[in-house]
Structure formats: structure tokens, C-alpha cells
């Protein structure tokens, strides 16, 4: 039977009987997505916008309650913007730049993210996960109205998965009983406890951290704090071994207490016990309302491979990190960004299946970087031995007066996109004097172009970006098109384009992938070299 595992924040896709349930033989779909969280929604958007039919199955009828992932990075917003809903997220979200780090009763230091000018999106916004998901869902509705072939079926739970080599057979349970479906490709976007991963008996290896964190989302009625990220190591108010305070939209504050491993969860979740911790922190005279609370533990681990035949894992189902650094949902969005165009080209027969393997290679690389960074932050925040505790506090002591020590304080290294250095799809990096940040394999940094921004102009396909260089307006190589975006430093009043893409070079030609990563770059256009790089970027080498 279908049972609710959580309460809904928004009921969006109530169960409706589908024709597939009455079909004489199982209906085959090009892509079935298991799980309608942020990653499943993004996958549906990416494929649907390409015109690839996509069916999303979820065992609930909408978006779950609870703020959960609240910190969305520039790259995740840029990806959402490519799908058409980045600006709505930015409008609703809280932009923050200042962070303060405290130890006991002292402020150790203050930092400012000092966002570089000339980007459409800030380094971070805080936004409750249900809003993030709803904006993606609303964009799906808008795309469907324009004919995008996206379908979401609520109360459709995948209960069995059989890999048949060139397709997957799914048994789906509904309120009207089970039915069978076939999928050419199955996307497992079903979260950290992925039932699909369990059904296939696949590994998930890494470190479990023995600590729990109590989240309380509160609405303050008698006091307020500035829009800053405050982090306490060993706070004087003793409400946790560490505490984080962060602002969300709707005047809600996220408070995160590190409460240790051996806790009685039921006891700790009692409102009076949550209030005891909050009162110690805020002072007894501050009035507030608890909007949502939860206790979580976490792991830093990943599957050995993210692709298993025709089943592909993305987001938390493939990899899990500690929350320090906001690398969970943000890295899942990058998974979809990476996979969407590849799967699209494979399904339409424009690229070989090998292209999907590059998703595994590139996103395993990204996951390892995220796991490394979030593991280090966790080890700094929750030292595992007396010696590492002494070192941690020594760093905090020195950080008050010595600048170098501030660089060692690690309450989370905030998520930035990884660069696919040295991986299989990369073409040459032959731009002498070119900036390191836009080298082959990197995500394109944004830049202002008069009224618009560079990433807006790149769009969704392959692009030949020329800066003061000649090139054809478009080329086609073995069925794959690339169109030119011609720019010049004469129309770069801020100098940002030149600084980010030319460096010391006088001209540049970039081949940019549909996920806005650099596939190759040169000083001048060379037809043979560009075509070779385009083939390589599509897995045709």
C-alpha cells in the first residue's frame, strides 16, 4: 500500500489514472525519472525543453515540508536560469555576503564573500527547498503549455526494477494497484536512501559521521538579526558543540545545533527541549515561533559508478556530503546540467552511448571534490581526537590576530563548480596567456554584455564564442551544430569579458558545451581543430 512518508508543503500532482495502466502491453517511454525532488524536476525540465519525452514518477503528490537545503549557489541558479526560472528564485531568495565566526563568547573574524561584479547571480541565496522545487515545477508547467513533453505522475511508486540491457522494466504501485512500464533510460533521482539503488543491490561507500544536528526554523516576533551567516564553535550558550544561524525568506531563521551522536531523538524533538536550546542562545525575552524542526545525521559517500547500464543515478542517490559548504542540492543540479544534453544527444541518435559514460567520469570527479571539501569541514567542526581538537582551537585563537589562521578556519568551503581538468571530453587548451579560470573543462564565468549577460547569450547548444576573432556563423559536424557568438572587447566597458576570457591574449575562440563548460579554446579559429574538438566533446573519439 502507498503510505505518506512526509507531510506536503505544496500538493501539485494529485494521482490520476493514466492510460498506461490500462494498456494491453507495457508502454515504453524514452526516459522515466524516479523521484520528483529538485533533481528529478531539473532532469524533467532539461529533457522536456529539448523535446525529449520524459515521465516522472513520485510516490507522493507534491513537495515535502521543511526548508532542508536552504543555500543555493551561483552555479545552481545559473543552471535554473538556463531552464528559465533563475530570476524567480533570485527574487524570492535572501542574498547574503557577510559571515561571522565566533568561538565561545568571542568573534574570531568576519568575512565578506565580496561577490565579483558583473555576474547575473550572486554567490549564494538562501531559499527554502520547497520554494526552489516549486519554481522548477512552475517552469515545467510553463514549458508544458508550450508543448514540452513532460508528465508527472503522483502516487506512482516504483517497487521493482529489472535491467533488460537495452531497456528497464518497472513495476509501479498506484492507489489503483500495480502496473508495468518500460523505460529506455531510468533516472534514479530518488534521494539519499534511493530505493532504486537498493533494488539493484548497488554499493554506496564512504564515511558515516557520528554526530547529529538539530535544525530549528524559527520566526522571531520580538527581535531580529542582520542578514548574515553566523557560526559558533563551542558557543558560550552551550546549546550545541557548534551552532549556525542563517536567514531565509519570509523572516524565517535557520538555527542548526550540533547535539552529539548519543541523543534520544524523540526527547530532543520535544518543543520544550528545542526551546531550551533556543532560549539559551537568544535570551529568554526573545519571542519566536518554531516553524519546522528536524534532526539529521549525515554521511560523506558515493556510489562507485553513477551509471549502471540503462540506469543513471543523480543527486543524493549517487553521492552524499555533509551540509557544510552547501554541496548537496547544488551538486545535484550540476549533475543534471552535465547529463541532460548528453542523454538528449544519445536518445536522438546524434551521439554514441559512450557519451553517457562521460557523465560518470565528470560527475564522479565533481563528487570527489565535494566529498573532500565537506569531509574536511566536518572534521574541523567536529574534531575526532583530543589533538585535532587542540589544533582546531589553536587555529581559532590565532585567527583573532593573525590573518593566515583565518584561511585555516573551516566552517564549510562554499560550493563552486568543479573544473573537469584532464577528462575525456576535453579538447585542446591552446590560448597562450588565457586566464586559468576559463581553461578547458571549466564552467564559463558569467560576464556583463551591455543589457544582458554572457551566460544568457550562450543558451543551450554548442557555441563557438569568438572574441575579436573570425569564425563561420555556424558549423555542423556529423549532425551536431554549433553556432557562433561573436564578441569584441570594443563592447566590453567593464573589461570583465577580457579579464575572464582573454587574459594576456589578443583574441580567443572558445568551443562551449551546452552545459556552459569550456570544451576547448584557441587564439584563432582553425576549422579542423574545432571540428575535432566538437566530435570529442560528443564522445565520438
Amino acid at each position: 500500500m502507498l503510505q505518506d512518508r512526509y507531510t506536503l508543503a505544496f500538493r501539485l500532482y494529485p494521482y490520476q489514472r493514466s492510460a498506461d495502466q490500462d494498456a494491453p502491453a507495457p508502454v515504453r517511454h524514452p526516459v522515466v525519472v524516479g523521484g520528483c525532488g529538485p533533481i528529478g524536476l531539473a532532469m524533467a525540465l532539461d529533457l522536456g525543453r529539448q523535446g525529449i519525452p520524459v515521465l516522472v514518477l513520485d510516490d507522493h503528490e507534491g513537495i515535502g515540508m521543511g526548508s532542508r537545503a536552504i543555500c543555493f549557489s551561483k552555479r545552481a541558479l545559473e543552471i535554473a536560469d538556463r531552464y528559465g526560472c533563475g530570476e524567480a528564485m533570485l527574487d524570492k531568495g535572501v542574498v547574503w555576503n557577510v559571515g561571522k565566526v565566533f568561538h565561545d563568547d568571542r568573534q574570531v573574524f568576519e568575512f565578506n564573500l565580496l561577490p565579483e561584479q558583473g555576474h547575473k547571480f550572486p554567490a549564494f541565496i538562501n531559499l527554502q527547498q520547497p520554494y526552489f522545487e516549486r519554481f522548477l515545477f512552475e517552469q515545467i508547467e510553463a514549458e508544458r503549455a508550450r508543448g514540452a513533453p513532460i508528465e508527472i505522475r503522483g502516487r506512482n511508486r516504483i517497487d521493482a526494477v529489472e535491467d533488460m540491457g537495452d531497456h528497464v522494466v518497472l513495476t509501479v504501485t498506484t492507489p489503483d494497484g500495480p502496473y508495468t512500464l518500460e523505460a529506455q533510460w531510468l533516472m534514479a533521482c530518488d534521494g539519499a536512501n534511493s530505493p532504486i539503488r537498493a533494488m539493484l543491490g548497488l554499493d554506496f561507500e564512504g564515511r558515516v559521521f557520528q554526530d547529529s544536528f538539530l535544525i530549528a526554523d524559527i520566526k522571531m516576533t520580538s527581535a531580529s538579526f542582520p542578514t548574515e551567516r553566523w557560526f559558533w564553535f563551542e558557543p558560550w550558550f552551550k546549546s550545541g558543540a557548534s551552532t549556525l544561524l542563517h536567514r531565509q525568506p519570509d523572516d524565517v531563521w535557520r538555527v542548526d545545533f550540533q547535539i552529539g551522536w548519543d541523543v534520544d531523538r524523540k526527547e530532543e524533538m520535544k518543543p520544550e527541549n528545542i526551546r531550551r536550546r533556543l532560549d539559551a542562545m537568544l535570551g529568554a525575552d526573545v519571542e519566536y515561533e518554531i516553524v519546522w524542526s528536524s534532526i539529521y545525521t549525515f554521511q560523506c559517500r558515493r556510489m562507485r559508478r553513477f551509471t549502471h547500464g540503462r540506469v543513471i543515478f543523480a543527486g543524493d542517490s549517487a553521492h552524499q556530503v555533509s551540509p557544510f559548504g552547501a554541496r548537496g542540492a547544488n551538486s545535484g543540479m550540476q549533475d543534471i546540467d552535465n547529463l541532460g544534453w548528453k542523454l538528449g544527444l544519445v536518445i536522438t541518435g546524434q551521439a554514441p552511448e559512450a557519451l553517457v559514460d562521460s557523465y560518470n567520469e565528470e560527475r564522479v570527479h565533481g563528487a570527489d571534490e565535494n566529498i573532500l571539501n565537506s569531509t574536511r569541514a566536518t572534521d574541523f567542526i567536529t574534531p575526532k581526537s583530543k589533538t585535532s581538537h587542540i589544533y582546531r582551537n589553536a587555529v581559532l585563537d590565532l585567527a583573532e590576530t593573525l590573518p593566515f589562521a583565518r584561511s585555516l578556519v573551516n566552517s564549510g568551503r562554499l560550493s563552486v563548480p568543479c573544473t573537469y581538468d584532464g577528462l575525456s571530453l576535453n579538447g585542446p587548451d591552446q590560448l597562450p596567456g588565457g586566464p586559468a579560470r576559463s581553461r578547458t573543462g571549466s564552467a564559463c564565468p558569467d560576464a556583463p554584455l551591455g543589457e544582458s549577460f554572457l551566460l544568457d547569450r550562450l543558451g543551450n547548444g554548442f557555441v563557438i564564442l569568438t572574441i575579436d576573432a573570425e569564425a563561420p556563423d555556424s558549423i555542423e559536424e556529423d549532425g551536431i551544430a554549433a553556432r557562433r557568438l561573436a564578441l569584441t572587447v570594443k563592447e566590453d566597458p567593464t573589461g570583465a569579458l577580457a579579464a575572464r576570457y582573454l587574459g594576456a591574449a589578443r583574441s580567443a575562440v572558445y568551443l562551449i558545451r551546452p552545459d556552459q563548460h569550456v570544451a576547448a579554446r584557441w587564439e584563432k579559429y582553425d576549422d579542423a581543430a574545432l571540428r575535432a574538438a566538437l566530435r570529442k566533446a560528443c564522445g565520438k573519439d
Binding site: R376, D379, S385, K386, T387, L402
Partner: protein, 65 residues
């Protein structure tokens, strides 16, 4: 403080910190303290300059609160 470098001088600070903490893994508290003492002596010899060492000793004294 004239000669002691107090701005960041380690190219990859997180890599270094992890290596440092790893080096202590499995050691008893006493062995860790002895390890630290040996490490400081090795580094002090590498630095050599008495002025820098004097400033470092001063910087490491816990500020009075």
C-alpha cells in the same frame, strides 16, 4: 612584528591542515605532544632567523582576556 609572515603563506591551506591532522592519527595524547615538539624543533631549525623565531614565540602566546 616586523619579520614574521602572518599573512597566508601556505599554497593549499586545507591540504596542509588535513596532512597535519592525519599525521597524528592513531597516536596517544602523549605521543602527539612529543610529535608536535619534534615538529616545532624541525621547523624552527629550518627558519633559523632568531628574530623571526622570537616573533613566532610571541605570536603563539595566548592573548590575555
Amino acid at each position: 612584528m616586523a619579520k614574521l609572515v602572518t599573512s597566508l603563506n601556505i599554497p593549499a591551506p586545507d591540504d596542509f591542515y588535513e596532512t597535519l591532522i592525519r599525521a597524528h592519527e592513531g597516536l596517544s595524547d602523549e605521543d602527539s605532544a612529543a610529535f608536535n615538539a619534534r615538529l616545532i624543533l624541525v621547523l624552527a631549525n629550518h627558519i633559523g632567523d632568531p628574530e623571526v623565531l622570537g616573533e613566532a614565540l610571541e605570536a603563539a602566546r595566548k592573548p590575555s582576556r
